[in-house]
């Protein structure tokens, strides 16, 4: 069972025949930038971009293409600084802060998870489902979430519940460090 699903943002009428499984056909109409549940070996990353579709809302352009001096990305292997001329790399990102350095300006975004593709020609693509400027994060919700999930983690029974609670704790701790760091 292999599923392949590709959404091309910007095409008029983005209703897509997403998945064909024996006996069931599923059709998805979704805003761009959404991930699909797929067979574990296949996934498609969709960058959040400007979409102009008469059926759907217009999303603000969150990731403009721009030239910067350095980007520090929260890879699963640790904070990674990417400068022009960086060796081509694919890095999986963990929930954390991505900081974009342009001259003396630093803009920080909290990235929920995703990937960074660094190409050999000094281009880097950072793809995330959610990336928010740090000042849009609400500290009280973060504390509440952290407390909730810590409690859920101690009371979780099945593997899946434990995994979900652990994800909750990880994400909220990362949000917390983003706010205080």
């Amino acid at each position: 069972m292999g599923y392949l699903c590709y959404l091309i943002p910007g095409l008029p009428g983005s209703r897509i025949d997403a998945v064909r499984e024996t006996g069931t056909e599923m059709r998805y109409a979704i805003p761009s930038g959404t991930w699909y549940d797929l067979d574990r070996l296949l996934w498609i990353a969709v960058a959040e971009r400007n979409t102009f579709d008469r059926n759907e809302e217009r999303f603000s352009d969150r990731f403009s293409t721009s030239s910067v001096d350095m980007v520090i990305i929260p890879a699963t292997t640790g904070q990674m600084g990417v400068l022009p001329g960086h060796v081509a790399t694919i890095a999986e990102l963990k929930p954390g802060v991505m900081s974009v350095h342009e001259g003396n300006d630093v803009t920080k975004y909290f990235v929920s998870s995703g990937f960074a593709f660094i190409h050999a020609n000094s281009y880097a693509d950072v793809i995330a489902v959610e990336a928010v400027p740090i000042d849009q994060i609400d500290p009280s919700q973060v504390q509440k979430g952290l407390a909730d999930f810590t409690q859920k983690l101690s009371s979780a029974s099945t593997d899946l519940e434990k995994a979900e609670a652990q994800i909750g704790v990880d994400v909220h701790s990362a949000l917390n460090s983003a706010l205080t760091g």
């Binding site: 069931t24 059709r27 797929l38 929920s112 995703g114 994060i137 979430g145 434990k162 994800i167």
Partner: protein, 63 residues
């Protein structure tokens, strides 16, 4: 590049990457300040319809 030796805890618990990523995104969306939060919640919406096929014809959609 990370080795394949230790699967991440969510993979070991049977979760796919997409599920993990969506959970992370939902948690982050819930922690936003007000005007951004409502916009973000609209991004979460997924519309779909499911119909079972029999004899080469779709039957009544379930949703």
């Amino acid at each position: 590049m990370a080795s394949n030796a230790a699967a991440p805890f969510w993979r070991a618990a049977g979760m796919t990457y997409i599920t993990y990523s969506n959970i992370c995104a939902n948690l982050v969306r819930n922690c936003l300040k007000e005007p951004h939060k409502s916009e973000a919640l609209t991004r979460e919406k997924v519309h779909f319809s499911v119909s079972k096929w029999a004899d080469g014809k779709p039957q009544k959609p379930r949703y």
